[in-house]
């Protein structure tokens, strides 16, 4: 029963030591998430080593804090600075910054923080309710079905993330290749190890994730370093009024309703639901004249959607062992690091651990609500770290994390090589997430495929034997062909990226008028 399991999880999570780890995770996650240029995926990848030395329960509890803290930190930055660091924060920044300019920055921060809490709590509750049901389904999932799920995740991630499906596929191929390097689990044969003994264990997922996200980003930023600073909005003054609250609570709930399902979907992400939430609030509001000039609904809805989708991502991860975002892939790597094999049986075999994780998501969420608003001043101070020190520091922690895995300098050379790959991918507009997901999910897909075919004696029809796999493979086909067909049939609707571009153009105009956001030289 879910409730008693969840209560058991709380019992594990609410020990003084574990609460301390949750607090530590929340603070670390927010602090790193606030820093410019560091998204949730990089936050989680960089802080992964910090959890290595702990026993699995404490480590995962700390990880839950880091995960939600990283999300919070990102949106705090985007409201404070009007620089949407991640695509999911674009919508929040849109109205949030206008509110700030109208002197209501504190209210924008407050509605975002409380909305995140509300959405995070409801979505985590949904996760707790949905998970056991899904697990009952997942128990009957065959190896062929599981292979189909992996294919769906591949296709969805490759075609949805990134500028074009082909570039997503290219990134996926790189990830799949990296996943092949090492010793084949089923036959014990070495593959593509180039005769280097250290490679026979495969390339460590942590090294790849840190390389692609942290080192690649540092190199890319170094190659095109921005000069100048942005204005911090005034976050003093009154928090929410009763009127603000009255206007916010419905958008919070609606945003949650958009965000959670998209988070559950493979590659659903947070970008589309935040966009949908914004559009809905704009349509439903009683104050349409305020949209574009700082409508509180336009902050409350998207921010709730953003956080709800973050919880939704955990559903396929914890029930099926399928990561649907880069951050989820790194969390999966963390599970593997503790010797926990992810898969449909995760909740059954590691039940108490998973429930402790879910319970600490609740706890972390509550901690964030209490801590975040009073600490805004502190987070702003972090933004004053000069970029040279920031990126040198990122490389320092990348070195720490990768070296700590095996204490082998060769790992650091591989880290740099893959970092250069990440650098190139960023230049070409190849998305990084499919590579990480390919690396993690590739071996899982292969193992399941071969087990399925071994059972059927090589008969390929086993792959479409069950209804489940037929539906899933059908969806995968749809995800691959769908976007192409849709584009051909009915043209395009504006994407969040375009809305952001309009905003950029706004900024261009401002810059031309001499009131630029980046403080261009006179």
């Amino acid at each position: 029963m879910a409730i008693s399991d969840l209560l058991g999880g709380f019992a594990d999570a609410i020990t003084p030591v574990n609460l301390l780890f949750a607090l530590l995770g929340v603070l670390l996650g927010t602090a790193v998430g606030v820093l410019p240029g560091i998204g949730p995926a990089m936050t989680v990848a960089l802080l992964l080593p910090a959890t290595y030395v702990l026993e699995p329960t404490s480590a995962l509890i700390m990880f839950a804090g880091i995960y939600y803290g990283g999300m919070y930190g990102g949106s705090t930055t985007s409201i404070l600075l009007n620089t949407p660091g991640e695509s999911a924060s674009i919508m929040t920044a849109l109205e949030g910054n206008k509110m700030a300019k109208a002197g209501r920055g504190s209210a924008a921060l407050a509605t975002a923080a409380i909305g995140s809490f509300v959405a995070g709590t409801i979505a985590t509750l949904l996760l707790a309710l949905v998970a056991p049901t899904l697990v009952e389904v997942a128990i009957n999932v065959t190896t062929a079905d599981y292979f189909a799920l992996a294919v769906l995740a591949f296709v969805a991630v490759a075609s949805v993330l990134g500028s074009s499906p082909l570039r997503g596929l290219a990134a996926l191929c790189l990830g799949l290749y990296l996943g092949l390097v090492g010793t084949d689990v089923l036959s014990g044969q070495e593959r593509f190890t180039l005769g280097i003994p250290q490679l026979s264990d495969g390339i460590d997922v942590v090294v790849v994730a840190v390389a692609l996200f942290a080192v690649g980003e540092a190199l890319y930023v170094a190659s095109r370093l921005r000069k100048g600073s942005v204005q911090v909005i005034d976050h003093k003054g009154s928090w929410m009024t009763r009127e603000d609250l009255r206007r916010s609570w419905k958008p919070w709930l609606r945003g949650t309703a958009f965000g959670f399902p998209f988070g559950v979907m493979p590659a659903g992400g947070a970008e589309i639901p935040t966009f949908l939430s914004y559009a809905t609030e704009k349509k439903l509001t009683k104050h349409p004249e305020e949209f574009g000039h700082g409508a509180i609904e336009g902050v409350a809805g998207p921010e709730a959607a953003n956080n709800a989708s973050a919880a939704g991502v955990l559903v396929p991860l914890l029930t099926l062992g399928i990561p649907t975002s880069a951050t989820a892939a790194i969390i999966l790597a963390a599970f593997q690091g503790y010797g926990i094999q992810p898969g449909p049986t995760l909740l059954t075999t590691e039940g108490p651990l998973v429930w402790a994780l879910i319970a600490s998501l609740f706890i972390g969420n509550a901690m964030l609500l209490v801590l975040n608003l009073p600490l805004v001043g502190l987070w702003v101070k972090l933004l004053r770290i000069p970029r040279p020190y920031l990126y040198a520091g990122i490389l320092t922690f990348a070195s720490l994390g990768s070296f700590a895995v095996n204490a082998d300098p060769l790992d650091l050379v591989i880290l740099l090589a893959l970092g250069l790959l990440g650098f190139a991918m960023r230049r070409f507009g190849w998305p990084v997430a499919p590579a990480v997901i390919g690396l993690i999910l590739g071996p899982i897909a292969e193992t399941n495929l071969r087990r399925a075919l071994a059972i059927s004696d090589g008969d390929l029809s086993v792959l479409v034997d069950s209804w489940f796999s037929r539906v899933v493979l059908g969806l995968a086909l749809l995800a691959l062909v769908g976007p192409v067909v849709l584009r051909a049939v009915r043209g395009r609707r504006p994407t969040p990226a375009e809305v952001q571009r309009e905003q950029e153009e706004d900024r261009e105009v401002q810059r031309a008028a001499g009131t630029g956001d980046w403080g261009a030289s006179s």
């Binding site: 410019p36 600075l81 620089t83 000069k227 100048g228 600073s229 942005v230 204005q231 911090v232 702003v380 933004l383 004053r384 770290i385 000069p386 970029r387 040279p388 009131t515 403080g519 261009a520 030289s521 006179s522």
Partner: protein
């Protein structure tokens, strides 16, 4: 026409420097050049004026009745280099800077910007700690 240059930051010591500089510019009937520079190497620089703060500075300067000019260079150089560059360029006859009160440890840890300015700049430098009304 003679030129008075002042380094300005939005804090008490910057205000003190500005007030002294306005007095000096009146006394010398000089052009007042206000320099508010940023290294521009961090995402947030709260000492860099923009928006309302910048407008308030402009209002204040026009109210002083002086001929004034505000410069906000962002070129990755520190304040000492920027000020000395402006002084050289304008042939300034006086530079006004605000001084921070520093502890012994503070002096040990950080290279003093004021000291670098004194060594770099060719023109006379007026260092002030508080506003002329308090003096």
């Amino acid at each position: 026409m003679s030129v008075v240059v002042v380094g300005y930051v939005p804090n008490p010591r910057g205000r003190a420097a500005l007030e002294h500089a306005v007095l000096e510019a009146h006394r010398r009937d000089a052009l007042l050049v206000v320099v508010n520079s940023s290294r521009g190497d961090a995402l947030v620089d709260e000492e860099f004026l923009r928006g309302d703060q910048l407008r308030a500075l402009h209002d204040e300067l026009s109210a002083s009745g002086l001929r004034t000019e505000v410069r906000q260079p962002v070129r990755g150089r520190d304040v000492a280099e920027e000020l000395s560059a402006v002084c050289t360029e304008t042939g300034a006859e006086l530079l006004v800077i605000g001084l921070k009160k520093r502890s012994a440890v503070g002096k040990l840890l950080m290279g003093s910007a004021a000291q670098r300015i004194l060594l770099d700049v060719d023109c006379p430098v007026l260092g002030v700690k508080s506003s002329p009304r308090e003096a």
